[in-house]
């Protein structure tokens, strides 16, 4: 208050420095007060501007903050926009297929590991059983596309690295907020890719449950992604239009010249001689994506192509014969032993009225149905259709006294764990292909595939096709 050596805005009425004519006393005082306040504000603003200018003139520290540090002659808005466009197509597909996978787990039914999801589950719907290969497709796309986009993501981040070191770090409020948003964008996208890629390899080093981390992380990321796209879409389209793609694809190293200087500072101030053309850079990234596709996709396609997935986790069959298809978790891995499923095993069916209890022999005397359905895992791999046979869930519901059951709790003999039980919805119970399977491909289920009985439901995520079932509780 009153700093800067300025006189006080208004002295006490009738003070020694004032000799006002009495008739103009009140209005004059107000005017002077207003004028003085404005003057003080203007002075403060001037001081602030001067300070900002002084800060603005601070030279960048040496190293990456200097404009001459980044020298690649192919960095520039056009190249960044090419990679950006690929991600603009790919990432929404990843997001949508990811959200579909979340819906496929039926979190609304009590299978939920994200009970605090709140509005983030706004779109949830009854996961269908048609087409029966739906989850196989959506999750195969989710995982394979995620893997294939890794080189594109690396290239995009490489192309904009000078922006990380731009000087000043924060120029305006808008600039500061946008950079905070970019931290969410870059941290979010790498967090999502890393947790996803580690999870499909069963490398559980991330801090907590994959399901919750990957789900909430996706929302943090997409919030930043949408605003990034909104703020940069115009710049991207202009940059893409600034060069002729066909001409670019004809230009080798010798003809490669830097793009004209851009306001974002991606184009180097002191470019080095080119060692790779833009065509070469895009081609190398494309080759990386193609190579990853080749060594990965086979685990989701299956059949003879499975063995082409040289580096993917599910690229070989674990055995031969009727039970020789992919296993998600073996009996030993989840603590199920022969004693759990020996002659004393019984199936308990609850519904309306007293519980029904069956031995496996009794189940085998009932009418058996068949269905050809795949196993499709959240990890992206899947099997071709396997030929299951057993009892229809809808028949079991009728036996329990609830022919129109709206849900069923399926419990396994496996020790309590994340997927030792599951709740299935009415549409899944009443699909005629939804079975409590006792046989597969003409043989008894093996222990690793859920002997004595397992659930198999069309389009259901693999882990919700509970194995070693011992109790079904139908509910209205």
């Amino acid at each position: 208050m009153g700093s800067g050596g300025r006189p006080p805005a208004s002295g006490p009425p009738g003070g020694p420095r004032r000799s006002p004519p009495d008739e103009a006393h009140e209005p004059g005082r107000l005017e002077r007060l207003g004028a003085a306040t404005a003057a003080r504000a203007a002075a403060a603003a001037a001081v602030a501007r001067a300070t900002a200018q002084r800060i603005g003139r601070t030279p960048p520290p040496p190293g990456p903050f200097r404009p001459g540090f980044w020298r690649s002659p192919i960095r520039g808005p056009w190249l960044t926009s090419v990679f950006g466009l690929l991600l603009l197509v790919g990432i929404p597909v990843l997001f949508v297929t990811g959200m579909l996978s979340y819906a496929a787990y039926n979190p609304g039914l009590g299978n939920d590991q994200t009970p605090t999801k709140g509005l983030l589950g706004f779109y949830l719907f009854d996961w269908p059983t048609h087409p029966y290969w739906l989850y196989r497709l959506t999750q195969g796309v989710h995982v394979t596309l995620g893997v294939v986009l890794v080189p594109v993501l690396l290239a995009k981040l490489w192309s904009v690295i000078p922006k990380l070191f731009e000087w000043l770090p924060v120029r305006t409020v808008a600039h500061g907020l946008e950079r905070l948003s970019l931290l969410m964008l870059v941290g979010g996208v790498i967090f999502e890719f890393v947790t996803g890629i580690l999870n499909i390899q069963l490398y559980y080093v991330f801090p907590g449950s994959f399901y919750t981390l990957h789900f909430y992380g996706a929302w943090v990321f997409i919030a930043a992604f949408v605003v990034h796209v909104a703020l940069r879409l115009g710049r991207m389209t202009r940059a893409l239009g600034s060069r002729d793609l066909a001409a670019e694809l004809r230009t080798g190293v010798a003809g490669t010249r830097p793009e004209p200087p851009d306001p974002d500072g991606l184009v180097p101030a002191a470019p080095a001689a080119p060692t790779m053309s833009r065509r070469g850079a895009v081609g190398m990234v494309g080759a990386g994506s193609l190579l990853l596709l080749v060594v990965t996709a086979g685990q989701s396609i299956g059949g003879r192509l499975r063995s082409t997935a040289l580096l993917a986790p599910h690229n070989r069959d674990p055995g031969s014969g009727p039970n020789g298809f992919q296993i998600n978790k073996t009996a030993a891995a989840v603590g199920v032993s022969a004693s759990h499923v020996g002659p004393s095993w019984r199936l308990e069916v609850n519904g309306h009225g007293p519980a029904l209890v069956f031995t496996r022999e009794q189940l085998l005397t009932m009418r058996q149905y068949t269905a050809a359905l795949p196993i499709a895992c959240v990890e992206g791999w899947s099997t071709a259709d396997q030929h299951w046979s057993g009892l229809r869930l809808t028949d079991l519901a009728a036996m329990s006294g609830l022919p129109d059951a709206g849900s069923v709790l399926v419990e396994s003999v496996q020790p309590p764990g994340p997927y030792s039980s599951v709740v299935l919805r009415g549409n899944q119970i009443h699909d005629p292909r939804a079975l409590l399977a006792l046989h597969v491909n003409g043989a008894d289920l093996s222990l690793d595939h859920g002997y004595p009985a397992r659930v198999i439901v069309p389009a259901n995520p693999g882990v919700n096709n509970t194995k070693w079932v011992h109790r079904l509780t139908f509910r209205t």
Binding site: L164, M184, I197, G217, A223
Partner: protein, 168 residues
Amino acid sequence: MARFGRWYGSGPLHLLALICSFALTGYALVRLFAVRPLDVAVWFVGAAILHDLILLPLYSLADLSAQSVLRHRTGRVPEVPWINYLRVPTFLSGVLLLVWFPLILDLAVPYEGATRLAENVYLGRWLVITAVLFGASAVAFALTLRRLRRAAHADDEERPASGDDAAR
């Protein structure tokens, strides 16, 4: 508007969009950080730092080093742009390792017990793929060198008296 722009540094729409985005971010972050918040934050921010301040500088440095170290070894080979014959297979082999390193380096402890598949096949496969990539690149480079030498030779024969080193 103009005064807002001076104060804020961009238009009001920019501010509205960012606040909307941050609100959603906050909504999801609270839930992301509900369990082990510190570890999750370290992973989240660490992911960006690991890439931007470690991985990217390392591969950039490796690239620059390869160019400057190997430049002195090229000897009599004329100016052939060779760096990409090293860069491309390194990049391809590198992204395979980056994506599949838990399996390649046998780090996924539950893998064999869960899937009934052996994990020890991946290192060998990655090495074979790497060998094929570098081998193919070497062959391509050799063919390029041969083509250039032949072209140089043809030039020499066309102009036999033009240079004093034509007899070489």
